[in-house]
């Protein structure tokens, strides 16, 4: 855990219902990190550009369908910037491995969570991912 620094999750999602679902999962998991929601890739980049170096995200969730609409640029820019190059980027997919998921991966996303099967499983997995990256993982402090 980064000493004396706050934790942050960036959720890039334009669908209100999907956003509610993700926030429900994070609340259910007892996440204490701050959660910032951006509606698209441009919104995410604007947010990141204005962030203090010490409060950059520990984890980025991005909706897979946004990769159809240009959010891949946001992923590439997050990956291309020294400070955020290693931030885990997880795709949230409503239907598993799709063309959009593949586009996100090619742009530099690390993995994906799908809610194609059971909603409870999806909420649990999203919560585990958020807990792991915001409580257990130690980031490279040289970069923050």
């Amino acid at each position: 855990m980064r000493r004396g620094q706050s934790r942050l999750i960036l959720l890039i999602e334009d669908n209100v219902e999907e956003e509610k679902l993700a926030l429900k999962a994070l609340k259910r998991a007892g996440i204490s990190a701050k959660i910032q929601v951006a509606k698209d890739g441009d919104g995410a980049l604007t947010f990141l550009r204005h962030q203090n170096r010490a409060v950059l995200p520990d984890l980025v969730f991005i909706s897979s369908h946004l990769c159809r609409d240009g959010a891949t640029d946001a992923i590439r820019q997050i990956r291309g910037h020294q400070i955020t190059s290693r931030v885990p980027i997880i795709i949230l997919s409503s239907s598993g491995h799709t063309l959009e998921t593949e586009r996100c991966r090619k742009a530099g996303a690390d993995g994906f969570i799908t809610r194609a099967d059971e909603i409870d499983k999806y909420l649990d997995e999203l919560g585990i991912a958020a807990l792991f990256w915001t409580t257990a993982n130690v980031r490279d402090e040289e970069l923050t």
Partner: protein, 140 residues
């Protein structure tokens, strides 16, 4: 994922016991193999040139301060090998040395977990690591 394999590379018997307990109690669905020094880990992963065949685990939990070959050297070999270049590696160590953290990431570690003296926190962090990398993480 009942056939998942975790390689735990740990030379401290107490830490080994606690880690195995955390994975078991956390219901992480994986078989765990233990290597007690860096050379054992390398032999497990790449074969020893004799009877031991190479094994590619689904997750490697890797301590840094290890006898014979240290964890950072093991990590370097893991990333150089085509079969293990993308295997998730989580450093699980008591070191909070900035050099160890930075070097681990530079050499390709996916994550870094500091062993804390807080028993409950240690158990929770190992549980989360096991569940995240074995159950949740899917590479597209």
């Amino acid at each position: 994922m009942p056939n998942a394999i975790i390689l735990l590379v740990e030379d401290n018997a107490t830490d080994e016991k606690l880690t195995l307990r955390a994975l078991r109690n956390g219901q992480v669905p994986a078989e765990v193999f233990v290597a007690r020094d860096g050379k054992e880990a390398i032999d497990f992963l790449f074969g020893d040139g004799g009877e031991k065949a190479p094994t590619v685990p689904d997750l490697i939990l890797l301590d840094i301060k290890l006898p014979k070959v240290n964890g950072l050297e093991v990590l370097e070999q893991i990333r150089k090998n085509k079969d293990t270049e993308s295997t998730p590696v989580v450093m699980l160590t008591s070191s909070d040395d900035m050099y160890d953290i930075a070097t681990s990431y530079r050499l390709g570690a996916n994550s870094y977990i500091r062993k804390t003296e807080d028993f409950d926190q240690f158990m929770e962090h190992v549980r989360l690591a096991g569940l995240y990398w074995i159950v949740v993480n899917r590479t597209p």
